[in-house]
C-alpha cells in the first residue's frame, strides 16, 4: 500500500518534469500549453472559484455514485431472483451500452434541467452497467458446492440469496465500485459540458472559451486529483467489505 503510494508519487513527479521539459524545449506560448508552474499559479489565484465549482461536481459525483451503486446493486439482485427480469432486462442493458453517454446527456438535461439532477442522472447511467454486470456476475458464480450444501440444509431461496450468494459476490461488487469511482466523475463532467452554470466541467469549458488555458488545466488537475482520491477511498471500502477475500488484496488498485 505504502509502496504503491510512493510509486504513484514518483510517476507523478516524472510526468511533471517531462511536461516542464516539453514546455521549455518547444518554447510554446503559455496560452497554448502552460507549464506546471503556470498551472499552480492559476490554481492559487483562482482557488475560491475552483473550490466552489469543485464542490458542485463533488456533490454530483458522490450522490451519483451512491445512487448508482444502490440502483445497480438492487438490479443485480433482482436479475438473480427473477427469470423474467433476466429475459427482459439483460438484452436491454447490453443495448443501452451501445448508446454513447454523450448522446444521452442533452436529452437528460432537457428533461431534468440545468441543475445537478441531470448531472447525477448522467453519472448514474455511466456507472450503472459496470456495477450491475460485475455484481450480477459475482452473484452467479457462487461456489456450486456451497449451494448444494445449502439445499441439503433446507435453505430458503431468500436466505440462500442473502446469506450465501450476496456475501460471496461482495468482492465482485467491490471491483464494480472501484470501476464506478473512476467513471462517475466522467459522467458528472459530461453532464456539465452539455449545460450547466456550475461545476468543474462548466469551469473548464468557460476557461477554454476565454483562452484561459492555465485555469482550464488547474480545474482539470483538481478533477483528476479528486478522481484518484475517490478511487483510493472506494478501494479501501471495497476491501473492508470483503476482507476475507484474497482477490481484493491482490487486485487492490485495479
Amino acid at each position: 500500500m505504502k509502496g504503491r503510494f510512493i510509486d504513484g508519487l514518483l510517476s507523478a513527479c516524472a510526468a511533471l518534469a517531462l511536461w516542464q521539459a516539453v514546455v521549455w524545449l518547444t518554447g510554446v506560448p503559455s496560452f497554448i500549453l502552460p507549464g506546471p508552474a503556470d498551472v499552480l499559479t492559476a490554481l492559487i489565484n483562482n482557488r475560491a472559484l475552483i473550490a466552489e465549482n469543485a464542490g458542485t461536481t463533488i456533490i454530483e459525483v458522490l450522490i451519483g455514485l451512491v445512487l448508482g451503486a444502490a440502483i445497480g446493486g438492487a438490479t443485480a439482485l433482482h436479475l438473480m431472483i427473477s427469470p423474467m427480469a433476466r429475459r427482459l432486462l439483460l438484452p436491454l442493458m447490453v443495448f443501452s451500452q451501445a448508446i454513447p453517454i454523450f448522446a444521452l446527456a442533452p436529452i437528460l438535461t432537457l428533461w431534468l434541467g440545468y441543475g445537478i439532477a441531470s448531472k447525477i442522472a448522467v453519472t448514474v447511467l455511466m456507472i450503472f452497467f459496470p456495477v450491475v454486470s460485475t455484481f450480477y456476475d459475482g452473484l452467479r458464480r457462487t461456489d456450486p458446492g456451497l449451494l448444494d450444501l445449502a439445499r441439503t440444509m433446507g435453505a430458503t431461496p431468500t436466505s440462500t440469496l442473502l446469506r450465501l450468494r450476496l456475501p460471496a459476490a461482495l468482492p465482485a461488487f467491490g471491483s464494480g465500485l472501484r470501476l464506478a469511482a473512476v467513471y462517475a466523475p466522467i459522467g458528472a463532467v459530461v453532464g456539465e459540458w452539455v449545460g450547466a452554470s456550475k461545476g468543474l466541467g462548466y469551469l473548464m469549458l468557460l476557461a477554454n472559451g476565454r483562452a484561459k488555458v492555465d485555469l482550464m488545466f488547474a480545474a482539470l488537475f483538481v478533477l483528476a486529483a479528486f478522481t484518484v482520491l475517490l478511487h483510493a477511498v472506494t478501494s479501501v471500502a471495497a476491501r473492508r467489505m470483503a476482507s476475507w477475500s484474497k482477490e481484493t488484496d491482490e487486485s487492490g488498485s485495479a
Partner: protein
Amino acid sequence: MHEAPPGLLLQGDFHHAGQPLFRDIHLGIEAGRWTCLVGPSGVGKSTLLRLIAGLDTGGEFSGSVAAGDEKPIAARVAYMAQTDLLAPWLDVYENVVLGARLRGETPDRARAERLIARVGLVPHRHKRPASLSGGMRQRAALARMLMEDRPIALLDEPFAALDARTRSEMQELAHETLEGRTVVLVTHDPAEAVRLADRIIIVSAAGLSHYDGLEGHPLRAADAPETLAMQSDLLRRLRGLPQ
C-alpha cells in the same frame, strides 16, 4: 438424533445426455451402518450419492430412491464433500450454525459450542477458514454436519485431500461422532474403506458388487495384519485380479 436412521434403496437407470451410466442398478444401504462405495474414477459414485441427496446430477434418472420407513429422504440427509465447503467470510462458529441461519432458525448456541469442542476447534472458533489448516477445515465441516443432526450422512471423499496422519484422525473422529447413523462414504482409498465399513460395495462399469471379504467391526486398526490383508484383497478385487 431424534429418530431411528433408515435404510435406503436406490433402483433404476441413469443417463448422461443419452449415454447410460448405470442400468437397472440396485443399491441397498443398511440402516445405522457405514456403507462404503469404492470404484474407479468416473464410474458414477458421486452421482449415486447426489441422487440419494436429491441434488442436481445433470443427467436423467428413471427409478426410485426410497427410505426403509417410506418417509422422504432429502430432509434427513447431511452432506460432506472433498472440499470443506466452508463459507470463507464466516468464522468457524458461524459456519457450524450456517444450516440454522439458512433455514431462518435461531441456532442452538450451546450445542454448537459443544460440537466445536468435540472436534477440537475451541481455540479457533473465531477464525475464518483461510487461517485454518486443511485438517481443521474438515473438522469444522464435520462439526457443521453433526450440528445438522441428520440420521443419514452422505460423505463424498471427505478425507481425500488430507495428509495420512490427519486423515486417520478424521476417520476416527467421524466414526465416533457418526455412530448409529446411516452413513454412505465414497472413497478411492481401500485402506479407508476397510477401516471404516460395515459393508463395502464395489462400483464398476458392469454394475455393483458386494465385497464379501470384510471381517470384524469398525473401527478396524489400520495397522493390524487382518486389516492389511483385507486391504490388499480389496485392492486386488478392484483391479480385477484373481484372489
